[in-house]
Amino acid sequence: MKTDKTILVVEDQEDNRQILRDLLGSAGLRMIEAHDGEEALTVAQSQRPDLILMDIQLPLVDGYEATRNIKRDPELKDIPIIAVTSYALSGDEQKAREAGCDAYMAKPYSPRALLARIEQFLDQRL
């Protein structure tokens, strides 16, 4: 299927990374990882993923800031970023969009729904 597609998962919780590893693996997608907002930028620059799943509550540099940094880079700015954040507080979605995120999902998300969203973005870019 889409084995050539690479998803960068920025997430500090190992359990959540494991869920995504299993989920994306089952859909034939390659997953690369970053554990904080700083690493997100360096990995994005070196590996050029097709899509980024960005957790918002991250150590060092939070997801909003990391998103702004990535979107500021002309070579990376077209990579879609889906923000993933804990329970939607009013205003979170707007903050994510202002930071440059292309979509937004509130935790806890259904892996099935998340995968559908990811594939929707990947299909658009074909």
């Binding site: 959540n16 804990s86 009013s90 806890p108 259904s110």
Partner: protein, 325 residues
């Protein structure tokens, strides 16, 4: 004889001048004294009054200075002391409220993170990502998932209510379509109703202009009402209806459930209160759904109520202003 008359006339004239002069001086002295006394009383009273007004408005920063060494001076002193006391209490309250908010924000994250992992792995297992699951295992796994989701709902409710109480939940206003709001709620509960073989219908006047309010929160209020209706109705139907006039929308949810005794109708909107009796004991729920709906509706400036007769179903309704600017 004539001299005597003249002399007494002079004396009279002189005394008259004295009397008039004294009267005038007395009058002026009274005026001056009155002015001095009123100035020394009214000015401090005015100052104390102004200070009290500022304290009432939440400004504890200044002191009132009254130089009088009398009751007014003492009063000013006491006002200052009370102000200090109030200032300290006010700060302690603010601290406590901030700690509570911080605690809630942390709890929100801490409770959801593990639950997220539990629900995530569960769903992957049910989806067969780890291989086929034996038939015998499917039902227990599904029970784990549904209970996990229920737990999540409870945590969300408690946090929502706490946030509303702490004044942390502000409405995010925007234009929305009443039609889409109702359809969204319908979509969310359709399968729940189908599981219980309940008919569910919606009726919305056609061609409603866009409304303005916090769509997500109003949908949450409506969802809580519809969720309750489904939970407490075992047979029959649920009808979601919208009525509109120029200023307000009225959302109603009618069910064919057991109804609510008159005595319970007011208290079911309080937190952690459900109608008494055997029916509610068997239903899962936090008892917060209606309390949250009530707060959301009131934040919009609307009101919420129930019409019901035991045995004849219940209709929950709320109004929301068509446009909040």
């Amino acid at each position: 004889m004539v001299n005597g008359v003249d002399a007494s006339r002079d004396t009279y004239e002189t005394s008259r001048v004295y009397v008039v002069a004294f009267a005038l001086a007395g009058f002026l002295l009274t005026l001056a004294l009155g002015y001095a006394i009123s100035w020394s009383i009214i000015k401090p009273v005015r100052e104390i009054d102004e200070r009290l007004n500022r304290i009432a408005a939440g400004d504890f920063s200044q002191k009132v200075v009254v130089a009088n060494r009398d009751e007014l001076g003492a009063l000013a002193q006491h006002v200052n002391l009370a102000c200090e006391e109030l200032k300290e209490l006010y700060q302690r309250l603010e601290d406590a409220s901030r700690h509570k908010s911080q605690f809630l924000a942390n709890m929100s994250h801490e409770l959801r993170t593990p639950l997220n992992a539990i629900l995530g792995f569960g769903e992957l297992m049910l989806d067969g990502v780890y291989g086929d699951i034996p038939d015998r295992m499917r039902t227990p796994l599904e029970r784990m998932q549904s209970n996990g989701k229920h737990l999540l709902g409870l945590i969300n409710d408690i946090l929502d209510l706490s946030k509303i109480e702490a004044g942390q939940l502000s409405l995010s206003l925007g234009d929305y379509s009443v039609d889409e709001l109702v359809r969204g709620v319908y979509g969310a509960v359709e399968s729940l109703a189908a599981e219980k073989k309940l008919a569910i219908s919606t009726r919305i006047p056609p061609g409603l202009p866009p409304a303005r309010g916090d769509e997500r929160r109003l949908a949450q209020a409506l969802l809580n009402l519809v969720g309750n209706a489904i939970k407490f109705t075992d047979k029959g139907e649920i009808a979601i209806e919208v009525a509109a006039n120029e200023e307000n929308y009225t959302f109603s949810v009618r069910d064919t459930g057991p109804g609510i005794a008159k005595a319970d109708q007011a208290k079911i909107f309080e937190e952690f209160r459900q109608g008494d009796g055997s029916i509610t004991k068997t239903k899962m729920g936090s008892g917060l759904g209606l309390a949250i709906a009530k707060r959301i509706v009131e934040m919009h400036g609307g009101r919420i109520w129930v019409d019901s007769n035991p045995g004849a179903g219940a209709t929950f309704s709320f109004t929301a202003p068509a446009r909040i600017e």
